[in-house]
């Protein structure tokens, strides 16, 4: 009921919506670019006036304008607040994006990361002034080493793919140190794109290995390719189909027997944290996405953090820096050892993410992290079980932390995986991962994570079932135009790529155009 006492009826939104003077539609606000709002002499920061003496810029003063608009603080706060409202985030609703582990980002993490004792510390301060920071890195390393059962660690990689690079370069350094240059890296068809891209960056030829009908690595096919020219296998486990590689111990054994190393993509560690240690599976190197398993925020695409853990065999080759504990406190070893692969980045890694991740680990503890894995797996299996009669599940049996479906159930409906995903936006959800992994047709990969309630899952399941029914019923309207309730409708990606507009261009004044 509204305040006038008249009932508000559903279904009255239509294309008859009035055309407004402003272009806004209530809370659907059109927001210009800062370049269309700001002015070059306006500023939202009050700074003291420079004294204006003779400069020592050596004749390199900037003469030409930068051409940057300035906005006052109220304009800036409003602009970015309005922009934020055009975004979907975990804080707003269910975000079942497979392979991405979109779990709740605890606010305690943010509060702690903002403490001056972490945020306002320079990476090159004397060691005596950063003992707390070094202790924190040491504690984080201890947790990661204990959780994975792997003795070596490099904290500095900046994100998952950077961790992959670190791991694979370390493997190559170890092979070259024993005079055993090899040329190929085995990568399953179902792998994340970063895996083959990383192998190529390390100078390796990527040799694909197929999946079997159970969605796992085809052990025979892999073995046939394992020879003295294979440097490593890059395997995600649980894999990108959401399945545990049942032959993993045997795979590791055969890989090692062939003199190669086992790189594990740790993107899906959330499924097994506290339940299984990768070190016990025979893994030689694995990156850990702190922004997945350990809840640091995705931030609209980053920053991430991708520490890598290593087996004994690879530990001598890890990149600097290392935190070393001793009686006099912690020291930071920054020089590259004779065998080390070399520095991966300036300074020491994503400290702000280390703080958040350790805060999260301490909050959960060993018992809570085990519960994380169990609830993540339980939630995914619940989704799988309650949808598989109407949406085709790609593989038999229980899944791990994510459930993979494909588009066989949409056959002859005229609805595609993309349409289905966009219709989910109208239902108030962020879509699942679509068209990945590549090993099934029209993939829909759903990862609920452990931070969803049963009620939230039930609502999503209801929406999925309703959409599947609508597709079968030929109700294609709700798919073809979807989303209709988003801030914008479907965007023309072809035009964007064909004639790229990557920066704002001032409109040409009318008289000049004539």
């Amino acid at each position: 009921m509204n305040r006038q006492g008249r009932p508000s009826a559903p279904g009255t939104v239509s294309d008859q919506a009035p055309k407004t003077f402003t272009g806004h539609q209530g809370l659907r606000l059109v927001e210009p670019l800062i370049f269309e709002v700001g002015a070059p002499d306006q500023t939202g920061v009050d700074l003291p006036k420079p004294k204006g003496g003779v400069n020592r810029l050596g004749g390199l003063e900037r003469a030409a304008p930068v051409d940057l608009p300035g906005l006052s603080e109220p304009q800036v706060v409003r602009h970015f607040t309005r922009l934020s409202r055009k975004n979907y985030g975990i804080d707003m609703g269910f975000f079942p994006l497979g392979s991405c582990t979109m779990k709740h980002n605890p606010r305690l993490n943010e509060k702690v990361a903002g403490l001056a004792g972490f945020a306002d510390v320079h990476p090159l301060q004397p060691e005596s002034t950063v003992q707390g920071a070094l202790a924190l890195m040491d504690q984080l390393a201890h947790w990661l080493i204990t959780l994975t059962g792997m003795p070596g660690i490099a904290l500095s990689p900046k994100a998952g793919a950077h961790g992959e690079l670190c791991g694979l370069m370390t493997i190559r350094a170890a092979l070259e140190a024993r005079g055993d240059a090899r040329a190929r890296v085995l990568v399953p068809d179902s792998a994340h794109g970063t895996n083959p891209a990383t192998a190529a960056l390390c100078g390796y030829v990527v040799d694909p290995i197929p999946a079997d009908e159970r969605g796992r690595v085809d052990l025979d096919a892999m073995t046939a390719k394992l020879d003295s020219d294979v440097a490593a296998i890059m395997l995600t486990n649980p894999n990108t189909c959401g399945l545990f590689e049942t032959d993993i111990v045997e795979i590791a054994r055969r890989v090692h027997e062939a003199g190669a190393f086992f790189y594990c993509d740790g993107a899906n560690f959330n499924a097994i944290v506290g339940k299984v240690r990768p070190g016990d599976l025979g893994v030689d190197a694995m990156h850990i996405n702190l922004h997945k398993t350990f809840s640091t925020p995705h931030g609209g695409g980053g920053p991430g953090s991708g520490p890598v853990v290593f087996s004994e065999a690879l530990a001598p080759f890890v990149p600097p820096p290392w935190v070393v504990g001793g009686e006099g406190g912690f020291t930071l070893s920054e020089t590259t050892g004779p065998e080390s692969v070399g520095r991966m980045t300036a300074f020491h890694g994503q400290m702000g993410m280390f703080v958040r991740a350790l805060t999260y680990m301490l909050s959960h503890g060993a018992d809570g992290l085990k519960q994380v894995a169990e609830d993540a797996v339980l939630n995914a299996n619940y989704v799988l079980e309650t949808l598989k009669d109407v949406i085709t599940a790609s593989f038999e049996g229980p899944c791990m932390h994510e459930a993979l479906f494909d588009d066989r159930f949409l056959k002859d409906t005229g609805v595609s995986t993309l349409d289905f995903a966009k219709a989910l936006i109208d239902e108030g959800f962020h879509p699942m991962t679509m068209y990945f992994p590549l090993v099934v047709h029209g993939a829909m990969l759903i990862e609920p994570t452990e931070t969803e309630s049963k009620a939230s899952l039930d609502e999503f399941i209801g929406a999925m079932r309703a959409l599947a029914q609508a597709a079968r019923d030929g109700d294609t309207d709700r798919f073809e135009n979807a989303p209709v309730f988003a801030p914008v409708h479907r965007l023309d990606e072809t035009q964007a790529a064909r004639k790229p507009i990557l920066t704002y261009q001032e409109p040409v004044p009318a008289e000049a155009a004539e």
Binding site: R62, L115, G117, L201, H298, A346, H364, G365, Q371
Partner: protein
């Protein structure tokens, strides 16, 4: 456990629906030998009070840059960040969003990325910029690989006054490609003749401005020499505030500009997360690494933004991608965009001049000290002085609550008598006086 919504009843009901007796039945694919049977030797869960106590105690063991006079730079700079920046980037719609692969519900992220790209392009004097890299150092490595793709040549010449960590990262990233990296020795007093080393095999020269020792250099002759030989100039900017006072690298002829954007909007954070800036000329767009945001229209003809030219990227091209990079520095780029929108042209120029003037005042205050000699004639907000056993001086001053700068010996063995100092708008006259007197005492 406060972050886990499922109740015991929920779990039982869900297991019943699935038809499993216990949650471990769902882990049946894990080989039995590999399942953990004993609890790990780690503490159990703790509430906010206990966790805060633990973390606060760690934080308290660090000296912060705000605790006393502070003159440390060398690739990371302490600047004022307006209060609204932190407020805005902490909004859940930004903080907890994913990469904007679903553009209809990611226009907030996409529009600020478009604004960010425009700001970076204009600051650097280039036509296009990407949606950010991990940081300046890794961006620098990517630039060298990109120059090779463009020129089909394998030799990169690195200035000796390039930040040593950046040079290290380039060497690491090209360790297993067949690139040839010619890394020149440092020239703390400036005057390196890098142009003379460019030949017909050279793919790129990598030059930092202001350089690691704070010298400002004219990139134009280097650009000309590079272009004459068919090579590219990669200009590196580790202090982006300098672009408010100094000619842009684009104006001086750079082909690729990489930068560390931390100075605008981002805290020191003990070294990360930071913000890699990456800009280039129009004709090299398709060889760029990383994400790009582009303008387009939606089905009703309204302006909108999408990630574009993705066929360069690993999720489409796999082993043929221009880079393996996926994650960018999204939230750090948002902080940059907001801070830069607040500053605007007028604010940025004023900020830059305040930095320069404080550095000039600092240089003048210590140059007269017996035993201290400032090496730079042209600099922005950072310079190098000669002082005997700089590491011991830094340690001694740290004991007095003054962070004096970084001794060059932290990066180069043998350069024991050089101290690199930076000043920003956050330094007061009192800070400068305190450093000058402490330094005078230390060198006596």
């Amino acid at each position: 456990m406060r972050y886990l919504p499922l109740t015991g009843d929920d779990r039982q009901a869900m297991l019943a629906t699935i038809g499993a007796a216990a949650v471990d039945d769902l882990f049946c694919d894990v080989p039995e030998s590999a399942r953990l049977t004993e609890a790990l030797n780690l503490p159990d869960h703790q509430g906010e009070i206990a966790v805060t106590r633990h973390m606060q105690a760690l934080a308290d063991r660090n000296v912060t840059a705000g605790d006393g006079p502070f003159f440390l730079g060398a690739g990371a700079y302490r600047h004022h960040v307006p209060a609204s920046v932190q407020h805005l980037i902490q909004r859940g719609e930004f903080l907890t969003a994913y990469t904007p692969y679903q553009p209809e519900i990611s226009q907030g992220t996409l529009q600020y990325l478009f604004e960010f790209q425009t700001q970076v392009a204009r600051l650097t004097g280039m036509a296009v910029a990407n949606a950010s890299m991990y940081d300046g150092s890794t961006g620098c490595g990517e630039a060298v690989l990109m120059a090779r793709r463009i020129t089909k040549r394998k030799k990169a010449v690195l200035s000796g006054n390039l930040h040593p960590h950046y040079a290290d990262v380039i060497e690491t990233m090209t360790r297993f490609t067949d690139d040839h990296i010619l890394r020149l020795p440092p020239v703390p007093q400036s005057g390196e003749d890098i142009a003379a080393l460019i030949d017909q095999e050279t793919s790129c020269v990598v030059v930092q401005n202001p350089d690691f020792f704070g010298h400002l250099i004219d990139l134009e002759p280097i650009a000309q020499a590079a272009h004459t030989a068919g090579a590219l100039l990669i200009a590196v900017v580790t202090e982006v505030v300098s672009l408010g006072a100094v000619r842009s690298p684009g104006e001086m002829g750079a082909d690729i500009v990489v930068g560390e954007g931390q100075s605008i909007g981002n805290a020191l954070n003990f070294g990360g997360p930071y913000l890699g800036l990456f800009a280039t000329r129009d004709r090299y767009v398709r060889q760029m690494p990383g994400r790009l945001c582009g303008q387009t229209v939606d089905a009703e003809g309204h302006r909108g933004f999408v990630l574009t030219l993705s066929t360069r990227e690993q999720h489409i091209r796999r082993e043929k991608a221009t880079s393996n990079i996926c994650t960018n520095s999204g939230l750090c780029s948002l902080a940059f965009t907001i801070h830069m929108a607040l500053l605007g042209e007028a604010g940025l120029r004023r900020l830059a001049m305040l930095n320069h003037e404080n550095a000039v005042a600092l240089a003048d205050a210590i140059d007269g000290i017996d035993g201290v000699e400032v090496l730079n004639s042209a600099f922005f907000n950072e310079f190098t002085c000669r002082v005997s056993n700089a590491a011991a001086v830094v340690e001694r001053l740290a004991g007095q609550g003054i962070i004096a700068g970084v001794p060059a010996s932290r990066f180069y063995s043998g350069l024991d008598d050089l101290l690199v100092l930076a000043a920003t708008e956050l330094n007061s006259d009192e800070d400068i006086d305190a450093l000058a007197s402490a330094l005078q005492e230390a060198v006596q």
